[in-house]
Amino acid sequence: MWHIIEQIFPYAIVFTIPLLITALGGLFSERSGIVNIALEGLMIIGAFSGALSIHYLSGVFENNTLVLWLGLLAAVIAGILFSVLHAFASINLNADQIISGTAINLIATALTIFLARNMTGSGNIRITSGFTPSNVPFLSDIPIIGDLFFTKTYPTTWFVLAILFISSFILYKTRFGLRLRSCGEFPQAAEAAGINVRRVRYSGVLISGAFAGLGGALIIVTYAGEFTGTVSGLGFLALASLIFGQWKPLGVLAATFFFGFASTIANVSQVIPELAVIPPILLKIFPYVVTLIALVIFSKSSQAPKAVGETFDSGKR
């Protein structure tokens, strides 16, 4: 069994990373007070623009790694641009945030395929080669830990983990973080302290756009290699992880890793004799059932930002 875990681990991590960065994006948005159910759509946008720009750039640049990073950058930018739609609707127009998010999900799905077809002539965009995993020198030789964490890693994994720690730092240690959190808890207080709530919320939503876009593109450059017009519900899973992880960076890390690990187990269970004895349906629904149970357990101590989802009305008392 240990061998299997060791073997699965790197794959679970690869699967976790897009989920993690997207959920982290959601964290910034929700901590600023804006529900972002559009994560799914933003991931699709990211996957699309990442794949598309890599598709075009690989003819321009020799260096494949450079092209991949440029693709990720493009995804980030596209994610940001698209999230402006959500920010505009929910911050400037006081629209219902859930409805706006739903609309964006619909637009993203429809528009990317439409554009892909029109720009490349194909609704699917395949990239010739993504990042390749490698062992971290020296560290991968450490017993146990080396096998689990430093074997077959992608540079993007370390990149996202760095973002996680930087985010955590920003959220709890910097001026921006303090202001962001105050806007999600009690925007009227933030406003009274002279903070431009709308601007902070814009930052929150745009960061979520950037991260979700990155998350979508990471799927392409690590394990999928092809844009097919969907991210198969990972955006919604990221949203669930955010709640499961109690709106905290490390909580989100734990929650997304749980999903990553559980899905990977479910995926490979068919080919592992030890697991094949368990009815596959149980393995497949395992992550979802556990999430429901966990939500029940955590419901008592829910740490949801108090003002999340409320439209901000400065006159409100």
Binding site: L106, T109, A110, I113, V289, L292, V296
Partner: protein, 359 residues
């Protein structure tokens, strides 16, 4: 009235945006839209198919709208449809009762299936305050995998691993007279069920003490509690009704529009239901018309593609844009208000001051 105008304006804006997209790819929007309409309504068969396409959307739209009206956001209609469809198909494939009995039973268990699937999120919301958005998403996937394994395990079609056995013609909602009347289209009894559901839901929401309670809980659960209503029970009840409606959507989809249930797909109608509800301003009658509009768009788009160079994905883009405009209808309402104000500016200037100052 207000909502109707806003909805219509968002539709128009969405169509305009779609038209601009058509221009952008070098097609003629007028031509495009005219083929779209023809495709949906040119002859009886096409009209029938348009209604058939709209029918599951009536149910999912009602499901989401009902939940919204009672303060809940049900994005689990897809899963509820799957379970409703699964249960109905299971009955249809297993029993050999006379047609009316069989159909009634299928409809009933389908509704129960959807309700059952919505019961869990309702219970979790009521008892543990678990947000229904997350729990219904989870239930969607659980439904997906349940159908994925139950269908091949128990109702496998001959030679077909990916869908159930076909229902016999008498175990579907299609009836010869209707099919013939609409020249062989897929319109089926589901449409009548849909109309009945619209009327019943409208009646419940507007005219009954049940609707009064459910809405009160949705608007302000604290006030409802204060007035002695059973808040938890009502939340669960709302989800049950919403889920039951979605379950009926599944019955209509899998035993009316289709005759078998496929695995590996979460029905898109569940998500479209959100859009339908929004566009229908969460009003049952509005939902009906919104569903028909979606039916027209989905149904006409194929003919538009066939006649022009406009790709199929455009219809979805237009629908999405319409929803975005509906979501941001504040902008539209604001403009409307401004217009209204301009016309009645002088009269109102001093009126309310007196009234407010008195309180």
């Amino acid at each position: 009235m207000r909502h109707t105008i806003v909805s219509i304006i968002s539709i128009l804006l969405g169509l305009v945006a779609g038209g601009i997209l058509m221009l952008f790819i070098g097609s003629n929007p007028i031509e495009g839209y005219s083929y779209l309409l023809q495709g949906a309504l040119k002859n009886l068969e096409r009209i029938g198919n348009t209604f058939a396409t709209a029918t599951p959307l009536i149910f999912t739209g009602l499901s989401v709208a009902f939940a919204f009206r009672t303060g809940l956001f049900n994005i689990g209609a897809s899963g509820q449809m799957l379970i409703g469809g699964l249960m109905a198909s299971a009955v249809g494939l297993t029993y050999d009762f006379s047609r009316p009995v069989l159909l009634a039973l299928m409809i009933l268990v389908g509704m129960l299936g959807g309700a059952l699937w919505a019961f869990v999120p309702g219970l979790l919301k009521a008892k543990f305050n678990v947000h229904e958005v997350v729990s219904t998403i989870m239930m969607n996937w659980i439904a997906y995998w349940t159908v994925y394994y139950v269908i091949p395990g128990y109702f496998k079609g001959e030679f077909l691993e990916t869908e159930s056995k076909k229902l016999s013609e008498s175990a579907t909602l299609r009836t010869p007279w209707l099919t013939d009347m609409f020249q062989g289209s897929y319109i089926n009894l589901g449409l009548f069920l849909g109309v009945i559901a619209v009327i019943i839901v409208a009646f419940i929401i507007d005219k009954t003490t049940l609707g009064y309670e459910l809405k009160a809980v949705g608007f302000n659960r604290f006030a409802a509690e204060y007035a002695g209503m059973k808040v938890n029970r009502n939340i669960i009840l709302s989800m049950l009704i919403s889920g039951g409606l979605a379950g009926l959507g599944g019955v209509v989809l899998y035993t009316g529009n289709a005759s078998s249930i496929q695995i590996g797909i979460l029905p898109a109608q569940g998500y479209d239901g959100i859009a339908v509800a929004l566009l229908g301003a969460n009003n049952p009658i509005g939902v009906f018309f919104a569903a028909v509009l979606f039916g027209i768009l989905y149904s006409g788009t194929g003919f538009m593609n066939a006649m022009t160079e406009i790709p199929p994905e455009l219809a979805n883009t237009i629908i999405a844009i319409i929803i975005y405009f509906a979501a941001t209808s504040v902008l539209i309402e604001r403009s409307l208000n401004k217009l209204k104000k301009k016309s009645s500016n002088r009269k109102e200037k001093s009126g309310p001051v007196v009234e407010k100052g008195d309180s």
